[in-house]
């Protein structure tokens, strides 16, 4: 309990003094996870729309497959990315190992199933009447898509928040493909992992608290948007 209190005090200290190393880690964690969420969104929103609105054989199976990957362990994604992007791997020519870029790519792969699956679920929750009305008013496919997106925006936002949460909170992938390099690929989760293993519990708790605070702020901002 004492360590928890010490951790709280340390977190306050680090924030108030704008400790440079913590600020750097915070900036990097946000940059990587926000970028990954955005990229995944750009891919998964249209893709989700395509899957939802079209009828094709194997649609049920595809959705089942997507939902299966909701629970893919982060280290499995890490392993997969490692095998492909390792210098001697098929995509090794890009020399991306142990860089923030590969962490973004990995996180996109990690959260894509969740985002895709939940976007499809969000669209499914919109009354068919909306689609029918829009079509009868002469809307084309894109306009119908946007109308449904409008109706489903709360559920879609929830999906985006969840995807972001999964991205910023994962350790396995960040550690395996990022390498936790000080000043280059160190993010909150890998830093907490390292500090805990070094026995510096106070700093770990402080970093954990700051990470939760940042997530809170991100949530508040996105929720504010949603309310309009």
């Amino acid at each position: 309990m004492n360590e928890l209190l010490q951790g709280l005090i340390k977190a306050f200290e680090l924030l108030v003094t704008l400790d440079p190393e913590v600020m750097e880690i915070a900036g990097r964690s946000l940059a990587i996870s926000v970028t990954a969420t955005l990229l995944a969104g750009v891919i998964c929103l249209p893709l989700g729309g395509l899957i939802h609105f079209n009828r094709f054989t194997g649609k049920r199976t595809l959705i089942n497959l997507i939902q299966t990957f909701y629970s893919i362990p982060t280290v499995v994604v890490g392993l997969f990315v490692f095998l492909f992007f390792s210098r001697i791997g098929p995509l090794g020519v890009f020399n991306l190992m142990f860089t923030p870029t590969i962490m973004v790519i990995g996180q996109v792969i990690l959260i894509a199933p969740i985002l895709l699956g939940l976007v499809i679920a969000a669209f499914s929750g919109v009354e068919k009447a909306i689609t029918d009305t829009a079509r009868s008013l002469g809307a084309n496919d894109l306009q119908i898509g946007i109308a449904v997106l409008q109706e489903a925006r709360f559920a879609v936002m929830a999906a985006v928040l969840l995807a972001f949460g999964r991205a910023i909170s994962e350790v396995g992938l960040a550690l395996m493909v990022g390498g936790n390099i000080k000043g280059f690929t160190r993010v909150f989760t890998t830093a907490i992992s390292l500090e805990t293993s070094k026995g510096d519990i106070e700093l770990s708790i402080a970093l954990g608290i700051i990470l939760i605070l940042i997530s809170l702020v991100v949530n508040m901002v996105l929720n504010r948007l949603q309310q309009r």
């Binding site: 900036g27 946000l30 940059a31 990587i32 926000v34 970028t35 990954a36 955005l38 990229l39 390792s86 210098r87 001697i88 791997g89 090794g92 890009f94 020399n95 991306l96 190992m97 142990f98 860089t99 923030p100 870029t101 973004v104 390498g179 936790n180 390099i181 000080k182 280059f184 293993s197 070094k198 026995g199 948007l225 309009r228």
Partner: protein, 296 residues
Amino acid sequence: MRKAIYCLLSTIALLALLAGFVGCAGEFKIATTTSLYDTGLWSYLEPLFEKKENVALDIIYAGTGAALNQGKSGNVDAVIVHDPDQEKSFVNDGWGIDKRSFAYNFFMIAGPSSDPLGIKDLNPADAFKKIAEGGMKDPGKVKFVSRGDNSGTHGAEKRLWAAAGYDYAKDIEKSGKWYIETGQGMGPTLTMANEQNAYVLCDGSTFTSYKGKLALVALVKKTAAETLNVYNVYAINPDKIKTTQIAIAKDFINWLISPDVQKLIGQYGGGSLFYPITDTTYPAIPNLADNMKPVQ
């Protein structure tokens, strides 16, 4: 108003996108063993090399086995390890070149201050024999925590079990609840041993740098061949990995064995953590003169 917020968010998002893609190449990467990393030696040396060579030094840490794998995968340009058997294969298979030893210390056995088996000041092999016997007899009270991760420390531990007369795979591994394998670095392994009041094999430097954080005490500290721990650096063979940054790797190796850095290594942590390889207090390697020649 809403439009303004969306514009702002899009700009932030775009910046985040760009920021996320920074830093794709031009870094010199090394893989080091966790034992060295946990002592903080690299944080100490890193800025010095970066300034001298004007390149960003990226340090990945992993057990020796994993570090060598990173070398074979071409993800790092140099490796720093300490396992004679694995290193021999690494060199014989043509992966590692320009080997240089640059520091050494000794493994020691730590354990609970109560020392239920009374191994204090015994020979390392004898101590291990007592630990195995005690553990198999009373696994509730006597425990040993192993790295269990193919690291240099794990290799030294296996050699000591052999010296104590045990077949590691048959007699020790999976022989009971007394033998705990963490599969993690020296730091977490020490923490686990601390929690379990167990015996543990550790390199002297890491144990010293954890002073004050552990209730464990040093029980067996012998400077001998079976506890000798030599740290070696290798460059990755450009014939095997065409993209390895061999020039910087050679500079790095020569920098590690240079007189200035050797002195710094000896002074690090108040001088009690590492012996620079040039320190002849103990004959750590067979041919010091050859080792000190810069690589070409």
